[in-house]
């Protein structure tokens, strides 16, 4: 039995994965940089900066020397903070805001590297996500981690570029922007639901969350934007060429990323593993990756005439 497992052991089922328990930053793994420049007491994220101002702590405010208004101010601020707490607690039940924060902890270097990976994934060697004591590292520290910033920005940019493309063909009207946005959004949701359903049917034990799948499905917008912009600038052949390139790139990217998450350990390392289950998983990975180029073509071909 080998007890000396290497440090970057390939983890597929970490139990008790929590994405954001260490949001305080007291153990050094802050999600967001502290740019407030204030005392260490205000290092609990940016929430504290919005807390009701403590009137008693502000020196030199002559308006508040009156004890009555002091009292009123203190009461009002306590009410406000109470209401804010209650709203936060209830909102957190419906939309996991704290989990979402993990996906937006990016910085410029990460975004640059990730965009480069999405367009040219052929040179990248190590596709594993680094873990730090069972929680995945924030995206800014690991280029393989999925994030939601690029998909969101890509979606919005795609809508704007679609409006631009329609405008150059004199087919633009403001309602069309909304129609484009909602139909692309609907396709995205249907794709995520289809992937979730197929993951359930094949009983893959994976630690991919729904938001992860949303992030992976949103990465194709980058390729779509590149294709449409080059089609606008250089005409139809350029559109087809760049779309082909981006489709191939996204295909390879998805396969290499999903391979580590969906397939069993030995299959992911490239060894041929027999068995119906592994075959099914392989088909699943292939079909998820193949759906991306199809969607990319489907959502952009009507923009370039």
């Amino acid at each position: 039995m080998d007890y000396s497992t290497p440090q970057n052991v390939f983890r597929q089922h970490p139990n008790m994965r929590l994405r954001n328990t260490s949001i305080d930053g007291s153990d050094g793994s802050q999600l967001f940089d502290d740019t407030s420049g204030a005392t260490p007491a205000s290092q609990m994220g940016y929430k504290n900066q919005q807390a009701g101002p403590e009137s008693a702590a502000y020196p030199g405010q002559s308006l508040l020397s009156d004890p009555m208004s002091n009292l009123a101010m203190a009461y009002g601020s306590s009410l406000a903070s109470q209401g804010k707490e209650m709203m936060d607690k209830n909102l957190d039940r419906f939309i996991p805001i704290s989990k979402l924060k993990y996906y937006f902890a990016v910085d410029t270097v990460y975004v640059g590297k990730k965009l480069g990976l999405l367009v040219f994934p052929y040179m990248h060697q190590n596709w594993e996500v680094n873990y730090q004591q069972d929680t995945p590292v924030a995206p800014r520290f690991d280029v393989n981690a999925p994030d939601l910033y690029i998909p969101t920005m890509g979606f919005i940019t795609y809508i704007l570029v679609a409006g631009l493309a329609l405008g150059t063909q004199n087919r633009f009207s403001p309602e069309l922007l909304g129609v484009q946005a909602s139909s692309a959004f609907v396709w995205l949701i249907m794709e995520v639901l289809a992937v979730l359903l197929s993951l359930y049917l094949v009983t893959v034990n994976t630690d991919l969350t729904t938001i992860d799948l949303l992030a992976f499905s949103g990465y194709k917008y980058v390729g779509m934007i590149v294709g449409v912009v080059s089609g606008l600038l250089f005409g139809k052949p350029a559109y087809y060429l760049s779309l082909l390139w981006c489709c191939a790139a996204i295909f390879i990217f998805m396969i290499r990323t999903l391979r580590l998450k969906l397939l069993s350990e030995s299959a992911a390392e490239g060894r041929l593993v027999r068995g119906a289950r592994n075959q099914l998983r392989m088909y699943l990975t292939m079909s998820i990756a193949a759906a991306q180029p199809i969607f990319m073509y489907w959502l952009t071909c009507h923009l370039i005439r």
């Binding site: 129609v179 909602s182 139909s183 949701i189 359930y200 049917l201 094949v202 009507h302």
Partner: protein, 84 residues
């Protein structure tokens, strides 16, 4: 080529698909094609297989979504009558 999808059409699709799964009758149809409850694989192994998963899904949709589907269908019928 422009598919004018709205969010409302997505909701309609979801309602129709769930209705379709919920109306599969147990003894008139599912048993005939070998998907009945008594024929389901009840193994506790770690590989239920695709067919067992589908059967589980159908059965759970039938039990869980019965009452909410009644409500949602009535609401959408009323909305369709009022707003076309």
């Amino acid at each position: 080529m422009l598919m004018a999808f709205t969010l409302y059409s997505l909701i309609q699709t979801a309602i129709l698909c769930t209705n379709a799964i919920a109306v599969l009758h147990e003894e008139r149809f599912l048993s005939k094609i070998g998907c009945g409850v008594d024929q389901a694989v009840g193994g506790f192994g770690d590989d239920p297989g695709v067919k067992a998963q589908i059967l589980n899904l159908i059965r759970s949709v039938r039990t869980v979504m019965r009452v909410p589907l009644i409500i949602v269908n009535s609401v959408s019928i009323v909305l369709l009558l009022l707003f076309g």
